[in-house]
C-alpha cells in the first residue's frame, strides 16, 4: 500500500490513463460527431439503417454527389438569415463584455478597498442575485418593457445582460483586486493621484490579467444566455441561441433539421476558439474564484 513518490505505481497510472481517455471520449466525441454529421444530409445524420452511413455519407453522395455537403450551412446562414443572428450575437457579446468590465472593475475595486460593513452586505446581496434563475427576472421585465415600449431591441437586451452579469463580475473582480496590495494605491495617492487616478494609472495596468479573465467569463455568460435573449428580443433582432431555438419549432417539422445542426455547429466554433486561446485564463479564473471567493 505504501509507496514512495519516487517509485511510481504503474498500475495506478495505467488505470488513471485509461479513465482519462474514456472521459476524453465522453467529453469530446459528441462535438466531433455532430460537426462531422453537419456536412451530411439528414438521412445520414440520423442513419437509422446503418450507423456507418453517417461516416461514409452514402445518402449524402446519392443526394448531392459528394460525401460532404454545405447544404445545411447554406440553408441556415443564407436562406434563414442566420448571418443576421451571428452579427447580432457579435454585437451583443462584445458590448456586454465591455460594459460589464467597466462597471465591474469600478465596483469591484470599491468593494475590495472599503473596510466598511456595507461592502460585505453588498457582496452578500450580489450572491443572492447571482443565485436567482434568470428567467425569474425576465418575467419581471416583460410588462414594464412593453409599457415603456423598449421591448425587443438590442440595447435593452444588452443592458439587461450587463446588469444580470454584474453580481458575478463584481465577485470575481473583487477577489482579483484583493490580491493587489493596498500599498500600490496608497503610494499613488501620496504621489499626487486622486482615488480615480490611482485606480486608472496604477491599479488597472496591474489588473489586466484579472480583467481579461473576468472578461472571458462575461463573454461566456452573454454568449450562452438563453433566457434573456429568447424572451426580450423580437424576431429580427434575435441572436444565435434564440434563433436556433426557433429553428427547432419551425424547421424541424419541415424536415430541415440539418439547418439546426449546422447552426449549432457554427455557434460552437467561437467557443472552441476561445478555449483554444484562453485555456490558461479560464482555468486560472475558475480557480481564482474558488481559492478566494
Amino acid at each position: 500500500m505504501t509507496s514512495s513518490p519516487a517509485r511510481p505505481n504503474y498500475t495506478l497510472t495505467l488505470i488513471a490513463t485509461a479513465f482519462v481517455l474514456f472521459w476524453m471520449v465522453v467529453a469530446g466525441f459528441p462535438f466531433l460527431w455532430t460537426t462531422w454529421g453537419s456536412f451530411k444530409v439528414e438521412a445520414d445524420f440520423f442513419s437509422r439503417a446503418d450507423w456507418s452511413n453517417a461516416l461514409s455519407g452514402v445518402n449524402t453522395i446519392r443526394q448531392t454527389g459528394d460525401a460532404f455537403t454545405m447544404d445545411g450551412y447554406k440553408g441556415a446562414w443564407i436562406l434563414n438569415d442566420f448571418w443576421r443572428a451571428g452579427l447580432n450575437t457579435m454585437l451583443v457579446t462584445v458590448v456586454v463584455t465591455v460594459l460589464s468590465l467597466v462597471l465591474g472593475t469600478l465596483g469591484g475595486y470599491a468593494l475590495a478597498r472599503s473596510g466598511y460593513r456595507y461592502a460585505f452586505w453588498i457582496l452578500i446581496l450580489a450572491l443572492v442575485f447571482r443565485a436567482m434563475p434568470h428567467i425569474t427576472l425576465v418575467s419581471g421585465y416583460l410588462v414594464p418593457f412593453f409599457q415603456l415600449n423598449i421591448w425587443g431591441t438590442l440595447p435593452t437586451a444588452i443592458i439587461v445582460l450587463v446588469a444580470i452579469n454584474q453580481p458575478f463580475t463584481l465577485w470575481m473582480l473583487h477577489s482579483f483586486f484583493l490580491s493587489i496590495p493596498k500599498d500600490l494605491d496608497e503610494s499613488a495617492m501620496v504621489d499626487g493621484c486622486t482615488r480615480f487616478q490611482a485606480f486608472r494609472e496604477v491599479i488597472v495596468p496591474v489588473m489586466w490579467p484579472g480583467i481579461i479573465t473576468t472578461g472571458l467569463f462575461s463573454f461566456l455568460l452573454a454568449y450562452n444566455d438563453f433566457a434573456v435573449t429568447a424572451m426580450l428580443l423580437r424576431q429580427e433582432n434575435q441572436t444565435m441561441i434564440p434563433k436556433i431555438a426557433s429553428f427547432l419549432g419551425s424547421i424541424e417539422s419541415e424536415g430541415n433539421v440539418m439547418f439546426a445542426v449546422s447552426s449549432v455547429v457554427s455557434a460552437t466554433v467561437p467557443l472552441f476558439i476561445l478555449v483554444m486561446f484562453f485555456q490558461r485564463q479560464i482555468v486560472g479564473g475558475l480557480t481564482a474564484g474558488a481559492v478566494k471567493g
Partner: protein
Amino acid sequence: MADIKLKGITRRWNDFIGVDNLNLDIADREFLVLLGPSGCGKSTTMRMIAGLEEVSSGEIWLGERMVNNLEPKDRDISMVFQSYGLYPTMSVYENIRFPLRIRKVPASEHKERVLRAAEMVELTQFLDRRPAALSGGQRQRVALARAIVRAPNAFLMDEPLSNLDAKLRVSTRAQIANLHHELKTTTVYVTHDQVEAMTLADRVVVMKNGIAQQIAPPMDIYNKPANTFVASFIGAPAMNLIEGHLEAGTFTSPVLTVSGLPHRHSGPVTLGFRAEDVAVVSEGGNLAAPVYSVERLGDSTMFAIRAKDDLISLKADKAASLAIGDVVRAAVTAKVSHIFDGTTGQRIEPLLIPA
C-alpha cells in the same frame, strides 16, 4: 518644508483604539522616529499624517494648514512603504518620474530631476529595468528616489529597512541619514528596531498600545527612560529590572540591596540598571548568583543569572572564564541605578545628582 503638529489625534475602530490622544510637535527639518513593538499604532499615526487613514478626533497641522480634511495628494508629502509600493508595470525611470507627471511638473524638468534623484541613491544604471528585475535593496532605493524626486513638505517612511538583510540595512541606514543631512526635509520614520531609532533620530517617540510613552532625544531615552516599558525596550540587552522596596535611600529586595540612593521616595519600587554599567567583580559586590547561561560575543561576555523569576544579564570582558553553575558577583552602585515607581512604573527622579 514644514513643521507638523499633532493635536490630540486619536484613531478608533468601533471600540478598539489604535492611537490614543497623541500630541506631538515635529519641528521643521527634524528627523523624528516612531518606535514601539508591533501593533502599537506607529503605522496608523504615520498614515493619519499622510491622509491615508481617517482621524477619529484631534487635529493635524502641516505648517500653517489644518489638513484633517485634505486628500493625501493635497498634503504634499512623500512616503516610503514597507513593501515599497513600486508600480510593477513601469520602469524604474517611470516609477521615479510618476509623482512629477501626476503633479503636472513641466515635462522639461523631469529628466534632470529623475536623474538627480537616481544619482543620490546610486540607481542610475537600473533606470530601464522593471521593479521585478531588481533586488530588495535596489527596490528600496527606487522607493527612496521616488520620495525625494520632488521637494515635499515631509518624508514619511514606514519601516523602510525591514525587508532588507542585516548588512544592507546598515548601509541603507547610512544612506538615509546622509539624505536627510543633505535635503534637510522634515522626516517621520517608523521602526521597531531600536538601533535604527538611536542612530537616525533627532527625537524618538516610544509608543505602546497607541499611547506615547516618552518623546525625547535618543540619548535621553537611553539615559533617563520615562518608565519601565521604555527602560526594557531600549538598549541591548534590555535594562535589568528588579522589584523591591525603597526606604530612606536604600533599596532592598531578596536578591539585591543598594544603599545611598539619592531618592526621597519610600515604598515599593523597581530598580533598574544596565548590564554595561555594572562591573563583574571577583570578590564582594552586592549581587551574587550562579550563572544560568553564558554568551560570548567576541569583544565581551554576557552572563545571565537567575534572580527569583527574572533573568538578570551582566557584562564582563572577553577573558572572563566563568562556566554555567559558577557563582558570579557584581557591584550595583547607586550611581547606575534607575528607580521606577513600583505600581505605575514611572521614573522617579533623584533629588540631587550624586557626586
